[in-house]
Symmetry: C2
Subunit: 215 residues, 2 copies
């Protein structure tokens, strides 16, 4: 339970760090009228959804140990649905920032974008499998028991993939900023520490969630 508290603090810290990075250091937020600043929603929605809410959805069963199973399932499934919506908004912001630029930037060229897309697709499939197996049409008791360890393994594996997406994305944004905004990432400015601690926070959080669930 101390670990679960630590995970909450790390999750909130990650959300605050990414919001401060994009909001205060990268010029704040806009929508399609200003695609360069529309991009800034991408990291914020991805980290808030695919890292913070994702972890809390997984931990539902650990936090509310005495609640009715039907409630827990509903909370778990609904939060994961919200994660999917956040991912959709975050991806829209990233694609818009490429397509609406003049001239446009190609889509899906980077390792980050390939890992990211695979992560979101697997997450959507996991969500559908969870819904079909545990809610409607609902599998038989035996089939549910067979599926459960796979649901848990892939739930954690996809969280690790989300972590890998975030860390490669952070690295890309750090270097783009270095090159195009002439902020020297390598000169240990304030932004250097915000970027690196954001990454370490996400890394630690993912390791702790996997640890708690596999104990």
């Amino acid at each position: 339970t101390v670990l679960i508290l630590v995970i909450q603090v790390l999750g909130l810290t990650a959300v605050i760090l990414v919001a401060v990075w994009m909001g205060s250091f990268r010029g704040g937020f806009a929508w399609q009228s200003d695609p360069a600043h529309e991009f800034n929603y991408h990291p914020v929605f991805m980290v808030t959804g695919m890292i913070f809410l994702y972890s809390d959805a997984i931990l539902t069963y650990r936090v509310f140990r005495n609640a009715k199973k039907t409630y827990l399932k509903a909370i778990h499934g609904i939060i994961q649905g919200v994660v999917l919506i956040f991912a959709g908004v975050g991806l829209k912001a990233a694609f818009d920032s490429h397509n609406l630029k003049n001239p446009p930037i190609p889509n899906l060229y980077s390792l980050h974008s390939w890992i990211g897309l695979i992560t979101v697709i697997l997450f959507a499939l996991q969500w559908l499998s969870g819904l079909i197996s545990f809610v409607a049409p609902k599998l038989s008791m035996g089939a549910r028991q067979t599926y459960m360890p796979h649901h848990v393994f892939w739930g954690l594996a996809i969280l690790c993939l989300a972590g890998a997406s975030a860390l490669t994305g952070i690295t890309e944004k750090a270097l783009f900023t270095d090159f195009f905004a002439h902020i020297k990432y390598s000169s240990f400015v304030t932004e250097t520490y915000i970027i690196n601690f954001l990454g370490l926070t996400i890394l630690t959080l993912v390791v702790l969630v996997v640890y708690v669930v596999t104990r």
Copy 2:
């Protein structure tokens, strides 16, 4: 066993891809006389050691199921020792490429380097713990049994960290190449595919090793 074969193929593919990337596309290898090309040893040694050999050391117990436990322990421990040596050479190449450059590049500024250093330190600690617990002075049976699940958990967790180090490193090198060597990563040139498939190969390999060991 099919999975173990797939893991071998992925490991060899990763080593070949990183060697071709550095050897043919990034100008080949040199030592301290030419620090820019000395850097090229860094990815090759890191991927060969901390990804390919690391995975095979873990899988020793799965591949040679009928061999004597003492032999398996020796193979497992010695390969992990070789991994540590590879990591040392790879790090030396990275640090030299910064320190011997004129003017020098600062050390340990990036998220990649922070994650990488943490990974190598944890790996070294895990190696020492394994040696002390299972070889000499060797813990009591009960203490060994208590430590074992932690040894396995952290062995896999550090493999995931090595994966995260590699993916962020690959992303950095891809963008440095883009900016300094004017190879357009985003134009889907041959190098784009080598870089992205190297990343996906490492990602898939790590997920499969964790899957095989936790089954």
